[in-house]
């Protein structure tokens, strides 16, 4: 398997806190790679560095063979690296369809057109509608994002990330705060995306992680203590002690 993403020796400190302490792992093309770890392990810090929202103190990130360590978040996004946010981050004053159409537009890179109404531009709205139906939001497409439910916000997050047609999807706790039913729907959606895309999944929901991931990295206090298949992670003594608990 070719590596789409290679992370080497990634380090980031906030004062005395070493949020990322020499993190290294590879993600193959088409792989779904989960990152798990207790609260405060530095999972969101890791995602932010991968997405380009945080600059690492040291280390390198290679994406599709290119060193992207110093690229800004918008540049990385245009290269095919999309993220969803742990805390819902959409454009509340716009409809669901507009939100996704904006994602399509950002990726197309044609934002310096000043005259034709964007909301009637089928080159934006058609792909946006397709993605919305994929995540199951078709009936809600004309609702303002501010008025969508929590679960729908999470679906919209994924739709926006998808609409940028990424090669690598960074999902920061897509199931956070969801009810059982909503979680099941999200797992089914991500299951359908698996293989078509390379996914890095940060998630607390172990059911989702073990059903979706090809490999799992366990992050504890800013360090990766193990990277392996779900079965081996389940069996790993150190991981059980550090995180999963004896009953896992």
């Amino acid at each position: 398997m070719n590596n789409l993403l290679s992370v080497e020796n990634l380090s980031k400190s906030f004062g005395a806190l070493r949020a990322s302490d020499g993190i290294g792992f590879d993600v193959g093309e088409g792989e779904t790679h989960a990152v798990i770890g207790p609260n405060g392990a530095g999972k969101t810090t890791l995602i932010s560095q991968l997405a380009g929202n945080l600059r690492p103190d040291a280390g390198s990130i290679r994406f599709a063979g290119e060193d992207i360590t110093r690229l800004s978040a918008p540049r990385r996004s245009r290269k095919g690296l999309a993220r969803s946010f742990q805390i819902t981050s959409v454009f509340p004053e716009f409809t669901a369809l507009d939100n996704v159409a904006l994602a399509v537009q950002a990726q197309a890179g044609h934002s310096f057109r000043f005259w034709r109404p964007a909301q009637q531009d089928s080159r934006l709205t058609d792909p946006a509608s397709r993605v919305l139906s994929e995540v199951g939001l078709t009936e809600r497409q004309h609702i303002l994002a501010a008025n969508l439910s929590h679960g729908e916000h999470r679906q919209l997050e994924v739709a926006m990330a998808l609409a940028t047609r990424p090669r690598l999807l960074l999902l920061d706790e897509p199931m956070a705060g969801m009810g059982i039913e909503e979680s099941q729907r999200m797992i089914a959606l991500l299951g359908a995306l698996k293989r078509r895309l390379t996914i890095i999944l940060v998630e607390h929901d172990m059911d989702a992680v073990f059903r979706l991931a090809d490999r799992i990295s366990v992050l504890v206090y800013g360090r990766i203590i193990a990277t392996d298949t779900p079965e081996k992670i389940r069996a790993n003594e150190e991981v059980r002690r550090a995180y999963l608990g004896e009953d896992a």
Partner: protein
């Protein structure tokens, strides 16, 4: 939608009919008053592009009003009378100044952005005061009004209709821009900057271009203003003028097409009426403005579009 069309229809009809009506009752003053309001409405429309749609709280928008007006004044001073030259230089110079100010200030945000735009404009204000050749503090008379073939800006009624058409055109242009791809990007960056970046938008060039467009459009307003008063002073660039433009936008409704127009009319008409009652009119206008902001959260335009 219907309400919006009705609003514009009523406004357009009223403004077209106003000059013959007030001239029939021998009150030509009102032609001048409304012309002034429409010229400043253009400045408010331009400010709304960056303030209402872009979320850039520029507290120095009067700079471009001043640059536009001084462009006309200085060209006329050196004997250039061509209106095309006046207006092209006014718009171009304002856009250039906006490019320079924007390039620096848009790197900051929040309170710093407000203070930097204010500081730049104060610099221009003091520059105006120090230019003794162009009247300094006292200002200068415009030697010759902008001359156009067929259109005489010296005629009050002609100038009125020119301001009227340009005001409508400005509102139309801005409404096209904010609904274009560019406008969607601009509004997205205002709505959620982090999200916009994550999607691949680069806010800086988007905001800077909007800032330059707003500056150029405000320069047009300045050029009209110079022709309107026939006399320009540095006070056109003072922070009071910047504040008044901001107030028009906020009072009328930020991020709406009708808002800045409504705001300009409401603020300047209220000023006019109160001045008729007392010389301490600001004491009444101040609290009225505070109340209007509290009760009309979405500005006056919000009254027309509440149920949409």
């Amino acid at each position: 939608m219907k309400k919006k069309i009705a609003f514009w229809a009523v406004l357009v009809a009223a403004l077209i009919l106003l000059p013959p009506l007030v001239l029939a009752v021998k009150q030509p003053y009102y032609v001048d008053l409304v012309r002034r309001i429409m010229i400043l409405a253009i400045a408010a429309i331009s400010l709304d592009l960056i303030l209402g749609y872009g979320g850039l709280v520029s507290f120095g928008h009067a700079a471009y009003l001043g640059v536009g007006a001084y462009a006309v004044g200085i060209l006329a001073f050196y004997g250039v009378a061509s209106g095309w030259a006046h207006f092209a230089v006014a718009i171009g110079a304002s856009a250039l100044v906006a490019l320079a100010i924007g390039a620096v200030s848009i790197r900051t945000s929040g309170i710093y952005f407000i203070m930097i735009t204010l500081a730049f404009t104060q610099m221009l204000y003091y520059l105006g005061i120090s230019l003794a050749e162009f009247g300094g503090d006292d200002g200068m008379r415009i030697k010759t009004r902008s001359r156009f073939p067929l259109v005489d800006l010296g005629d009050p009624v002609t100038a009125y209709y020119v301001a009227f058409v340009l005001m409508l055109l400005s509102a139309f242009i801005v409404s096209r821009i904010v609904n274009s791809r560019f406008g969607m990007a601009l509004r997205a960056c205002k709505s959620n900057d982090a999200r916009a970046r994550a999607l691949g938008f680069s806010p800086y060039p988007v905001r800077l271009i909007a800032f330059v467009i707003a500056g150029g459009l405000c320069g047009l307003s300045g050029a009209l203003y110079a022709n309107h008063t026939n006399y320009i002073t540095p006070s056109l660039m003072s922070w009071l003028q910047s504040g008044e433009l901001m107030f028009m936008v906020i009072l009328g409704g930020m991020g709406t097409t009708a808002g800045p127009v409504l705001g300009a009319f409401a603020l300047l008409l209220a000023e006019e009426v109160l001045k008729g009652f007392t010389e301490y009119w600001q004491v009444i206008l101040g609290p009225l403005l505070v109340l209007s902001v509290i009760f009309f959260r979405h500005g006056l335009a919000g009254i027309f579009s509440r149920h949409e």
